[in-house]
């Protein structure tokens, strides 16, 4: 892909107070120059960064997000950055699944002494986003919105938050029975669950204003009618949707509750 004329990427960075933010300050003290596109939000620990907040940024059209923490083992809060790692890697893959390039979300570690490295990472990431272009290159705006919104809601769900945040313990220490969980198997379960939650939320969003038929929902969510129906049956059983009328021969579904 060629660079886009006059495109100034909008990049948001979450930097932890103790390492990466200090590294960014050191880049300044040492006058290492880098592109102006990055805007930084300081957090005490990269473990504070909720994946849903990253999705909020993309939903609003930010082209790239950097999450920088302390090097593994150096976290000021012992293990905060391990959670960051699990969450962000999950989110990267999830972004790819919903059609947003995972390159737009960058995770790395910068120590307080790595001013030059910080400047280089920012330069490299900015150039990468320049190359892949604005977020709207990935998907048309209306689809982008709907997908990111459903992804955000999926990652807000209880089950997903357990799966994403217990990952580290399940691998390291095992479950309540002391069984260590196979990483590939766990990832498979996790992403299946994520996709299911995501599809569910897409359907819910598409019928939140007015009742829709399976075909209409399928069109709005770019899923197959079969997939939509399979989801609707489960959702109806769990009391999330109900049939609220019939248009010709097609039942129309409407959202229940919130």
């Amino acid at each position: 892909m060629s660079q886009q004329e006059g495109f100034e990427p909008r990049i948001l960075g979450f930097l932890c107070n103790w390492c990466s933010y200090a590294g960014a300050d050191l880049a300044g003290v040492s006058r290492f120059q880098y592109p102006t596109n990055l805007r930084v939000i300081r957090v005490m620990c990269s473990g504070r960064v909720d994946p849903t907040l990253v999705l909020e940024a993309f939903m609003r059209g930010i082209d790239g997000v950097m999450v920088l923490g302390c090097h593994p083992g150096d976290c000021h809060y012992i293990s905060g950055n391990y959670y960051t790692e699990r969450r962000i890697i999950t989110l990267q893959k999830f972004l790819e699944i919903i059609g947003v390039r995972q390159d737009r979300l960058f995770l790395d570690w910068v120590s307080a002494g790595e001013g030059e490295r910080f400047a280089n990472l920012v330069r490299d990431f900015t150039e990468k986003i320049m190359k892949i272009g604005p977020l709207s290159n990935d998907l048309p705006p209306y689809q982008l919105q709907a997908r990111l919104l459903a992804a955000r809601d999926a990652l807000s769900q209880q089950r997903m938050r357990w799966l994403v945040n217990r990952e580290k313990e399940l691998w390291d220490e095992g479950n309540v029975f002391g069984e260590k969980v196979d990483q590939d198997e766990f990832n498979k379960v996790k992403f299946e669950a994520l996709v299911r939650e995501y599809e569910k939320n897409r359907i819910l969003h598409s019928i939140s204003d007015k009742a829709q038929s399976v075909k209409e929902i399928a069109k709005a969510t770019d899923m197959t009618p079969r997939e939509v129906l399979r989801n609707l049956i489960v959702m109806e059983q769990s009391g999330l949707v109900t049939v609220s009328g019939i248009d010709g021969v097609s039942p129309k579904y409407r959202r229940l509750g919130g």
């Binding site: 909720d50 907040l53 945040n165």
Partner: protein, 555 residues
């Protein structure tokens, strides 16, 4: 809560910001932002004049939020928070916007774009400030005892200084004896005093001092807990010594780089400066033709720094050689002589005494052959062949290989060479960003003996402030659980790195509660709570989201 009245102070920082960003434009821009009722530029906001303006504006403009757009919260947030406090405003209603270290200094050629960036950052700061809430500070008790790691001249001086103030000190030294690098040194410039005598006197003082416990052949095995109450375990042989320390001083020093495989180094006829000093001390020096080579293994790829002390060391040793053997001829091959300050005298005397200086360039370094050193003289423009009995290589001081491990234990940073990195090179040279840990001597950077001693007194002075006060104020950035939203699922309890959140049985059922004294405020729980029942004080979801929203919206 009453409506936010935000005051924005944009600092020029002399020319540091003012020279690269359009400060008046930033002030004007801030005026147009929601809830901003006052905006002003300062030459130096951190000067007394600037601080006075903040205090006045809080009173006159009835500001209930203050933003300073200037350097970095890592150095100046405490100052501005305090200023707000003095003016009667809760310090947590202050917000910092970093437009120097992360803007003007890193975009020096791009005034326009950098000014746009600064506008964004100020807009984000205002959005966050509007949602800030007052916080009550938390007091933590400080144990009046110190752990000093390293029994060299810096560590010993620091330990004595602390002990003399009445604090208990545990001094940990990895070697069998106290003394550090000075054990091997000979005569010290400018007094020509004996290094061993100097440390001998210190060691005797330490042995007499009842407040100091010395653990030699010992290493720090574990440091748990936080500022004020570190639980330390020192390992000595097979035995563990657990104790509590309020503060920690790092004085682990550095070691001499061994130039293995360079310039024919073998430790006999080609030696390092330290090895030369040992020869002089043990009366084993016997040479007529001495060639010293400076910057061996320093100021090159991979070890890009000047070790600062080697030029002086070389000159001092060269002078001692001439004293011992007036017939001796000493050549010093150098890239740049660094004998700063009063040490310049030493250089002058060395020239008077007939020590010959030959400048070489790193592109054409000297070569040590059988009995002769070949060097291309930059000034003569030709190669010299210098016969020798002894070649002395001036090598840099390098960080101890285990400094990284200690750094991880204490959560303090090291630089790319493994030297400990202070909180701020000018403003807090003996502190770390992590409160309660201090440093002195060559653990920080290659230092002379007198510099190490001065730093040791400084570190002792810094470390004794919290111990004298007996308490410190901890940041109230802790988690809070919303009792209504929490369903007691226990995810937070499982993942908290500090065991600072616990699910308890209450009349309303199982509900999580933060143990505020243990919570360090990382926010791992807040970012994972399935019910979004956990709020991080001062880093609330809404506050962070507000920044994202206004950034994305554009101006």
């Amino acid at each position: 809560m009453e409506e936010a009245r935000v005051g924005v102070f944009v600092c020029r920082c002399g020319t540091n910001i003012g020279g690269f960003l359009d400060v008046p434009a930033l002030v004007e821009y801030a005026k147009g932002l929601p809830n901003v009722v006052y905006s002003k530029e300062n030459l130096y906001t951190c000067s007394e004049a600037g601080l006075t303006e903040i205090r006045q504006a809080i009173a006159e403009q009835k500001l209930n939020r203050v933003i300073v757009a200037s350097c970095t919260p890592r150095t100046h947030e405490p100052l501005f928070r305090n200023t707000c406090k003095e003016a009667g405003l809760n310090p947590y209603l202050f917000e910092f916007v970093n437009i120097r270290d992360q803007c003007s200094w890193v975009h020096m050629q791009e005034t326009k774009k950098a000014t746009e960036k600064a506008k964004d950052l100020i807009r984000m700061g205002v959005a966050r400030a509007r949602l800030l809430e007052p916080q009550e500070e938390i007091e933590v008790e400080v144990a009046p005892s110190a752990l000093v790691i390293g029994g060299g001249i810096a560590g010993m001086t620091c330990a004595l200084s602390l002990a003399d103030r009445g604090f208990e000190v545990t001094l940990v030294e990895r070697e069998k004896k106290l003394g550090g690098l000075l054990k091997d040194l000979y005569k010290l410039y400018p007094t020509q005093g004996d290094a061993v005598e100097l440390i001998g006197a210190k060691i005797r003082e330490i042995e007499k001092n009842r407040n100091i416990e010395v653990l030699t052949s010992a290493t720090v095995k574990e440091i748990k807990g936080f500022f004020g109450n570190y639980d330390v375990t020192v390992k000595q042989g097979e035995k563990d010594f657990p104790f509590r320390a309020g503060v920690v001083v790092i004085a682990t020093g550095a070691e001499e780089f061994k130039p293995v495989g360079m310039y024919g180094y073998e430790g006999k006829n080609v030696v390092t400066q330290l090895e030369l000093e040992r020869m002089l001390k043990e009366n084993k020096f016997n040479a007529n033709n001495v060639v010293m080579i400076q910057c061996v293994g320093a100021r090159n790829e991979g070890r890009n720094y000047c070790s600062r002390v080697c030029c002086m060391t070389a000159l001092n040793n060269a002078m001692i050689i001439l004293e011992r053997n007036p017939k001796a001829q000493v050549f010093t091959l150098y890239r740049d002589m660094q004998t700063y300050g009063f040490y310049e005298d030493l250089y002058r005397k060395a020239r008077e005494k007939g020590i010959i200086f030959v400048k070489y360039s790193p592109e054409r370094p000297p070569a040590v052959d059988e009995g002769v050193v070949k060097v291309f003289d930059e000034f003569l423009g030709e190669e010299l062949r210098l016969p020798y009995n002894l070649v002395v290589l001036s090598t840099p001081m390098v960080a101890h290989p285990d400094s990284k491990e200690l750094a991880q234990m204490l959560k303090v940073p090291v630089d790319e060479y493994g030297f400990f990195l202070e909180a701020h090179v000018k403003l807090r040279p003996l502190d770390f960003a992590t409160d309660g840990v201090y440093l002195c001597g060559s653990a920080h950077w290659p230092s002379t003996v007198s510099e190490s001693i001065a730093q040791a007194y400084g570190a002792a002075s810094r470390a004794s402030i919290p111990m004298s006060r007996r308490h410190v104020v901890a940041e109230p950035i802790v988690s809070v659980v919303d009792q209504e939203k929490c369903i007691g699922c226990g995810l937070c309890e499982m993942i908290c790195p500090f065991k600072a959140i616990r699910v308890e049985e209450t009349p309303k059922g199982r509900i999580a509660r933060t143990i505020t004294a243990s919570c360090k405020g990382c926010g791992v729980c807040g970012a994972s709570c399935p019910q979004r029942a956990i709020t991080m004080r001062h880093f609330k979801d809404e506050q962070m989201l507000a920044e994202v929203v206004v950034l994305a919206e554009g101006k």
